[in-house]
Every structure is written in C-alpha cells, then in structure tokens.
C-alpha cells in the first residue's frame, strides 16, 4: 500500500480554518457567559492565518496528494494543485469570509444568532470552498462541494424560530440536494465513460476520443448542474430570491459572494481542466447561459422594490457577467479577467450587503425606506452609493467600469461580438434599477420620516447606531474600492 507524500504547506490554509472553526466552537461552548465577541475574533485570526499561509505559497505552484503512477494511469495526477488561479480564488474566498464574519457579529451581539455554531459553520463552509478551488479530481471536487453546501443550509436556517428562515432553508436544501444528485449522476457517467476520476486522465481520454461518446457529453453537462446551481446560472437560479430574503443578511452576502466564487472555481476546473478538448461544444452553451442569466437577472430586478430581493437579482445578473470570460473559451487571460471581476464583485457586494444589513436592522425593507440615507448616515449612504455605481459600472465606481472593460475585452477577443452587444444592453438595463436606488439614497426623505431615519422610539432590537464591526467592514470595503478605482492595477494581479 503506497502512502501519498503530503505537502503540509499546501494544505495549511484549509487546516487553519478548520482549527479556528473548532476552537471557536469549543470556546463558545465552555467560555463564561457574555463573551460573545470571542468566536468572531477567533474566526478572524483563523482567516488571517490562512491568508498568510496562502501568501507564503504564492512563490511557485505546488501539487500534492498525487495518485500513484502505477497501473494504466501513466501521467502523475495530483488531486490537490495550488497555482495562480487557485490562489486567486483563495484570496477572494478568504477576504470575503473574513469580512462577512465581522458582518455577522452584530446579530450575534444582539443574540439573534448563536455565535459559536455560526462561526464554526461559516469557517467549515469556507474550508469546503478552499478545497473546491484546489481540487483536481472528481471525488475531491464532489466532497468539497458538499462541504461548502451543507453548512450553508444550516446557516440559512440559523435564526431561532423564524418562519421565513425555516422556509428559506428548506427550499434551499431541497433544490440544492436535487442539483447535487444530478452532479453525482454526471460524475458517475464521466467516470463510466473515461474510467478515471483524475483531471489529467479524463482530459487525455477525452482528447484521444477514448471516452464513450454520448455518455461523456451528457455526463459533462450534468456535472455542471451542481456548480451552475451554486453560481445561480439561468435554469438553476430559482432559489436565489427566496433564500436571500429568508436568510440573515450576512448569510445572504456569504451565499452571493463566497459560494458563488467557489461555484465559479468549480466550473472553471471542470470545463477548462477536465473538458478543454470539448471547448467548441461547451463555450456556446455557457455563452447562451450567460446572456440569459444577465438578462433575466436585470429584468427581474427592474420591478423590485424590496432591497434584499433587488440585491439578490442583481447578484444573479452579475453571475451572468462573470460567466462571459468562461464563454469566451476560458484561456489564461479570460480566467484572469473573470477573477478580477470576481474580486471587484466580492468587495463591492460585501459593502452593499453590509450597509443594507445595518440599515434593515432598523426595519427598512423597501427602496423608499432608504430615502435620504446620505444625509442621515453619510458614511453608510456614500458607501452604498459608491457600491451600487461600481456594480452598475459607472465612473465614480471606476473599478466596476474597468472590470467590465476586461469582461468586454474577453468577450470581443473570444469572437463573441453578439454577446458583447447583449452585455452592452444589459449594462443599460442594470443601470435603470441601480440608478433608482441611488436616486432614492440621494434625495431627501419625503414628509413622513423615512425608516432609514432612526425613529425616536426604540425599534425592537434596533439601537440606532451601526455596530462597530459593521461600520469597520463598510469603511474597509469603501476604501478598498476607492483605491482600486484610482489604481486598478492590483485588481489584475492574477492576470499574467
């Protein structure tokens, strides 16, 4: 029995997260009453440690957990590979998880959510996301996907005795499990057609045509269903509005950023690492899916006045934009453009959810309740305006604009001019509802005191000032987006 040589440095980041998760859980269970900030602190330490570890890895690409070269599989296949692409995904996942961890601290502080379990679930889900980004064979990919999903079901339903939280959790759970079942079916067909689960071997058998013809194609598509579900591509975006509205705001942010990024990483790995010879088969499919997703997301968001549902549909539309580089053939430059857009999207989306979370704690639900926020809460108002303009891709939000230019570039260079034109139209469509929200933020509240205006009487569980952690997240993301607007260079560090 040959044991695999394990490169411990390569798996250090996920280990840090798991360790932090477990310590957070234990500390919360046994620590004295009232110290609710501890789990958040521990999770932050864990994330920072993971970031440092992955930074150390950035010098050269490593591969570990390699399958033995014996037997018929000749090329050495390692199922855990750290390269630039993986590190970029890790950066996005870890930064977002850290910020979202802080975002959830106020509701823990208010006692709505159990601190220890929350951070444990959050970090274990993040671990799943990290493993997904580094996985290079179907088994690890599947297990990582499940590790990402299961804790998020629990996170959605975490609010005690909340009718809508329970309903959201159930819907999210059942639709996700069905999607995972389809993925499993796909994986079994791929395994059946190629005889192996490792990336290298599948790619060679597909290239040489050894794969059993119809089964491999159907298997490929079905494998993508699970990841498409996570990214909320067109046929699989049904769960998004209900889950985001039912879940706590922080968890909705988590789903819209980290689980979407992990889904994208999965898509990239499956399509580019496993099935690169079938590129002229799947790239039109992904292009059509991208076009449909962005158009549907924008059209649905046009009619929304409920803030969280609007952000939900906006994240569906942004998923459409994120798929464009993949549709263009998934070359190195395209993946870089996608990751740049993903990083911008992560920062800006977390900022938007942070502000919306802080204000909806005072009972603000619809866009009108946010009227005049720039006057009543300047920092929150400005951050949300800047975030929305970045999502819309309009100049004050130059980082959004530059990221969109990168997306446009990969579409045009991928000979997808029609997709570029659809993208152009969607930019205008998206502009309408972002603009309506920004207009509401900027114009002073009408006669009746807007909900954003902190009412004198205490709203249950609503102290008027945003919690320290929330304010910190808002400021950090706002400054990061502003700096990146002036010097967009670092956004593209992943691009070769």
């Amino acid at each position: 029995m040959t044991t695999q040589v394990i490169d411990w440095w390569a798996i250090a980041p996920p280990l840090c997260l798991v360790a932090a998760a477990i310590t957070a859980l234990l500390v919360d269970a046994f620590a004295p009453r009232g110290s609710r900030a501890l789990p958040c602190a521990i999770s932050l330490v864990g994330v920072l440690a993971a970031l440092l570890a992955s930074a150390a890895l950035s010098s050269h690409s490593r591969a570990t957990f390699c399958l033995p070269a014996s037997g018929i599989e000749q090329p050495v296949n390692c199922s855990w590979v750290i390269d630039d692409v993986t590190l970029a995904w890790w950066l996005i996942i870890l930064v977002s998880t850290g910020l979202i961890g802080m975002l959830l601290q106020p509701s823990v502080h208010r006692g709505e959510l159990p601190g220890g379990e929350l951070y444990f679930l959050l970090l274990s889900s993040a671990t799943g996301a990290l493993c997904l980004a580094a996985a290079r064979d179907l088994i690890t990919l599947l297990v990582a996907l499940e590790t990402l999903s299961l804790p998020s079901f629990a996170l959605v339903g975490l609010r005690r005795r909340n009718r809508r939280g329970a309903e959201a959790a159930l819907k999210f759970f059942i639709v996700s499990v069905v999607a995972t079942a389809f993925t499993l079916l796909g994986i079994s067909m791929v395994y059946g057609a190629t005889g192996s689960v490792a990336a290298g071997r599948i790619a060679t058998s597909v290239a040489t045509g050894a794969a059993v013809e119809p089964v491999i194609a159907v298997g490929m598509v079905l494998t993508l269903v699970g990841f498409g579900f996570k990214v909320a591509v067109v046929p699989f975006q049904v769960w998004v509005p209900d889950t985001y509205v039912g879940a706590p705001i922080g968890v909705a942010a988590y789903l819209s950023v980290v689980s979407k990024a992990a889904g994208l990483a999965g898509l990239v790995i499956v399509l580019v690492r496993f099935f690169s010879p079938y590129v002229d088969l799947w790239s039109p499919m992904v292009a059509v899916a991208a076009a449909l997703t962005m158009t549907l997301g924008n059209l649905a968001a046009l009619r929304q006045s409920h803030v969280v549902r609007l952000l939900a549909w906006s994240s569906v539309a942004q998923a459409g934009y994120l798929l464009v580089p993949l549709a263009a053939g998934g070359s190195e430059a395209d993946i870089g453009a996608m990751q740049a857009y993903a990083l911008m999207y992560a920062i800006v989306n977390v900022s938007a959810f942070a502000v919306v979370g802080a204000v909806s704690a005072w009972g603000a639900v619809t866009v009108d309740d946010f009227r005049g926020l720039v006057r009543t809460r300047p920092w929150l108002g400005l951050a949300l305006t800047f975030a929305l303009l970045c999502l819309a891709g309009l100049p004050p939000g130059i980082v959004g604009l530059v990221a969109k230019v990168a997306i446009f570039r990969s579409a045009v260079e991928g000979e997808l001019t029609w997709l570029a034109v659809v993208l152009a139209i969607n930019v205008a469509l998206g502009l309408v509802y972002y603009l309506r929200f920004v207009a509401a933020l900027l114009t002073p509240a009408p006669v009746r005191a807007a909900v954003a205006e902190p009412p004198a009487s205490g709203q249950p569980g609503g102290q008027r000032e945003p919690h320290g952690a929330e304010l910190f997240v808002v400021i950090v993301t706002f400054i990061a987006a502003a700096v990146l607007s002036i010097f967009p260079g670092p956004l593209f560090f992943v691009l070769p």
Partner: protein, 500 residues
C-alpha cells in the same frame, strides 16, 4: 518658454477641475465656493488658450503629449495629447464652464445647494476636457462616462422645480440612452484592439489599413450608433428635448455646448483615421440620418409651444449638419464639421443662457407664459435673443453660416467613392432645412419679442449676465467675420489621413 508638456499642462486641464470639485465644497459659504471655482475655471481657460496657441503653431501634429501606464494588465495607458481637432473643443469647454460659473455667481438655482452644483460642473468640465485630450481608447471611454453621472444628477436634482418626476425621468432617459451608446462604442474599441493589438490612437491610424473590410464595417456601424446616441442622430434623439427642457440653465448650456460635442468629436476622431474603408460604406446612411435630422428638427421646431424645447430641436438640426459634413469623408467635410461643431457650441450656449434667463424671470419658457413684446419690456434681453436667433439660423457674417455653408459645399463634392447624386439630394434637403430654420426662428422672435407688450414687467439683463454672455456674442461675431481663426490652415488639412 518652458514647454507646457513638461510641466503636464494637460494633466492640469483634466485633474485641476476634478480636484477643485473635491476640495471646494469644504469652503462652506456657497458664494466663496463659486468665486474660487471661477478662479479655477479662469486658470483652466488661460492654460487651454496657451495650449491652442501651441497647437496652431504645430500644424497638425499632437502637442503636449504625455504617456504613463495606468492598467498594465489591460494594456491601458494614461495617454494624453491634443491636436487641431480637439484643441478648439477644449477651449470651448473651458469657456462655457467659465460662463456657467459666472452665471451662477449671483442667482442661486431654485432647488438644491449651489456649492454642490458648482462641484458637479467642475467634474463635468474635467471629464469632457479629459475625453477631448485622451489618446487611449479605454481612457477615452472611461472619461466619456465620467461626465454622465454628474450631468444626470444636475438634471435630476437642479432641474425644473415644478415637475420633479418629469425631470427625473428625463435625466434617467438621457443616461440610459447614452450609456447604451457608450457600451456599444466600447465593443467597437475592443474590436479594434483585437484587430490591431493596441489601444493607442496614434498607433492605430498607421495600421488602420490592416483590418479587412467587413470587420471595419461592423466597427464603423457600432461607432455610428454609439456616438449617434450622443450627437444625437435622428432616431436616437428622443431624449434631448426632455433633457433640455427639464435641465437648469447651466445644465442645458453644458449639455448643448459640451456633451453633444463629445459625440461628434468621437465620430470625427475615429471614423476618418481608424476605419476609413468601413466608414466609406456606412457614410451615406450617416448622411441620410443627418439630413433627416436637419429637416425633422426644423419641422418639429415649427410646431413647438415651448421656447426651450425649440432650441433643443434646433440643436438636433444643427448636429444633423455636422453629421452630414462628417459623412462626406473629404478634408473639406472634416473642416466643415469641426467649424460647425464649435459654432453650434457657442451660439446654442448663448441661446440657452438667454432662454434660461427668460425662464428664470417669467417662471416657464412656454410662449404663452412669456407673453409678447419683449422688445419693450426688456430691450437688451430681447436684442441678445434676436442676435442669437439670427446667428443660429445661419446668417452670413455670423458664426452659424460658415459651418452650414462649408457642409453644403462639401456635400456638393463628396468623396469620389460616395454616390454623387445622393449627396446632391442631401445638399438640397439641407438647404431646405436652412430655410425652415429661418422660418421657425423668425416666427419665434415674432411671437416673443414683437407684438403688443404684455403687462408683467421683465427685469432687463444684469451685470453678471452681461459678463457671462458677452464673450459668447463676441465669439459669434468674430467667427462670423473672420472664420480663418477656426478653419485649419492648408498644411493641417494636407496632414489629414483621409484616403484620397
């Protein structure tokens, strides 16, 4: 004399107003903010005039160039440079901004704070000057869009006080159409990038011949539609009248004087140099749309009950002339388009100032509300309105005439590959447009200025308004009597890369 490019003349022109916009609101008192802004605008105007002097002596080459890498990954560089095509527009922008700020000195806008409005105007100035001097495609696109949000905000927040939903709808319609246009323009730029491998405009021109023709046609069409939404060209013009009638005076002036020029400048800059073969195929359609715009705009003005909307439609007509000039694809056409562009900017800005002044005094710009006999009630205001109207209808001896005359002359003898007879028809229709323009302006002057004076008194032009308007009146007369000031010298024309 130290060469201006060393100390970053263009950087000052672009960054100066932007930084000013950020710092000025800190001065609290709105009067001091406006005064500081006027100081800054005067500095920008002075530097831009100095730049123009350099450009005129440089005979067609790029002047004050500067180049720094901005986004290495996307190969986007902070490339600035100015030549005969962009210099007059930069000076025009600087002048109009200066006039707007002077106009804002005494009379605060009826809704919304003044210091915020001043800041936004400076940002619009920075964005538009930046667009005129940008030599990198993506930088052009980014700065092209920098102007949009401030203008949207100016219209939505400071617009017509009586009709709040109306001005918000007008502002949003303006923004959505323009953003769609600019997005299509970006697609065209990226197609160029994928064909020629660089965003640098100067490099593109030499290599323009490499792109094969059907790809050039696609790029030309995308550019036409993209900039057409901004010019505005006929089918995409529906946002202009609302935007103008709902915008504050200052907003209308900048919208007509500067923003429309971004569209025509774009076409002038990218059609001739970059996709000549494609442009030749698409030129007749651009010419046709331009001519339809001229006649359509003129007819629409005939039946307009509102003076400000009438001026807006006249802009559609005048920009139709510029589009026709561009579509002739000859050096004469290019010179005509450039001159008509600047002339329209000066005259329509003056018209909007005057009409805005009337609207501020009377409350609304409808003919019924203004009443008759303005000559009696406020002689100087009516006189300036009459002079501006006469200049706008293209009276020889004033700026409007040369642009339109040279356009028709260019249409008379367009590029040899273009269908001669169609362009003759365009020329005749343009002539008809001129007559119709004369009719509606003269009728408008008759309705407003002449007739038995209405009862309510209208205060005459005040000192600060004179200061804001006189440069424009002087420029109109100067350009009319001495067009050679703006027309290009023979060797600049020779340097134009128009295919013989």
């Amino acid at each position: 004399m130290i060469s201006a490019s060393s100390f970053g003349g263009l950087e000052f022109l672009v960054a100066g107003p932007a930084v000013g916009a950020a710092l000025l609101p800190l001065l609290r008192d709105s009067r001091r903010v406006t005064q500081a802004a006027i100081g800054l605008a005067s500095a920008v105007l002075a530097v831009s005039i100095w730049m123009w002097v350099d450009v005129v002596s440089a005979d067609g080459a790029y002047v004050w160039q500067s180049n720094a890498s901005w986004i290495a990954a996307l190969d986007v560089h902070w490339r600035l440079g100015v030549d005969d095509l962009s210099a007059p527009l930069v000076v025009l922008t600087a002048l109009l901004t200066w006039c707007c700020l002077v106009a804002l000195l005494k009379r605060a806008p009826d809704c919304g704070g003044t210091s915020a409005l001043v800041g936004l105007i400076l940002v619009i100035e920075a964005g538009s000057i930046g667009t005129f001097v940008a030599l990198d495609l993506v930088l052009f696109f980014v700065l092209f869009e920098v102007v949009l949000i401030p203008m949207w905000f100016v219209i939505a927040a400071w617009g017509d006080p009586h009709d709040e939903p109306g001005r918000r709808r007008a502002a949003s319609r303006f923004l959505v159409v323009t953003v769609t246009g600019s997005a299509l323009m970006l697609v065209a730029f990226l197609l160029l990038r994928s064909e020629l491998g660089t965003f640098d405009l100067a490099a593109l021109t030499e290599r323009a011949r490499v792109i094969e023709s059907d790809r050039q046609i696609l790029i030309a069409v995308l550019l036409m539609v993209g900039f057409g939404a901004k010019i505005p060209m006929w089918p995409l013009h529906f946002w202009l009248p609302d935007a103008h009638s709902k915008a504050p005076t200052v907003g209308s002036v900048l919208l007509a004087g500067v923003l429309l020029k971004l569209g025509t400048y774009g076409l002038l800059r990218f059609w001739y140099d970059v996709v000549p073969v494609g442009a030749l195929e698409v030129a007749p359609y651009l010419g046709a749309l331009g001519v339809v715009g001229i006649v359509y705009g003129a007819l629409a003005c005939l039946a307009q009950p509102d003076l400000k909307r009438l001026i807006a439609y006249s802009s559609v007509g005048h920009m139709g002339f510029v589009a026709l000039a561009i579509s002739t694809m000859t050096p004469q056409g290019l010179a005509a388009a450039n001159f008509a562009n600047v002339a329209h900017g000066v005259i329509t800005a003056l018209l909007f100032f005057v009409v805005g002044a009337v609207k501020d005094r009377v409350g609304d710009s409808g003919f019924g509300v203004i009443g008759r006999g303005l000559y009696a009630r406020s002689p100087h205001l009516a006189a300036v309105l009459a002079v501006a109207a006469v200049a706008s209808l293209g009276l020889p001896g004033l700026a409007g005439f040369w642009g339109e005359m040279l356009t028709m002359l260019a249409a008379y003898s367009p590029h040899p590959d273009l269908p001669q007879t169609t362009y003759l028809v365009f020329m005749v229709l343009a002539g008809l447009g001129v007559v119709l323009t004369t009719v509606y302006f003269v009728v408008a002057v008759r309705k407003v200025c002449q007739g038995v004076p209405a009862s309510d008194a209208v205060t005459d032009v005040e000192a600060d308004e004179w200061v804001a308007w006189l440069p424009l009146v002087a420029l109109t007369v100067l350009l009319g009597l001495a067009p050679m000031v703006m027309l290009w010298s023979a060797d600049v024309v020779a340097a134009l890369p128009v295919t013989p």
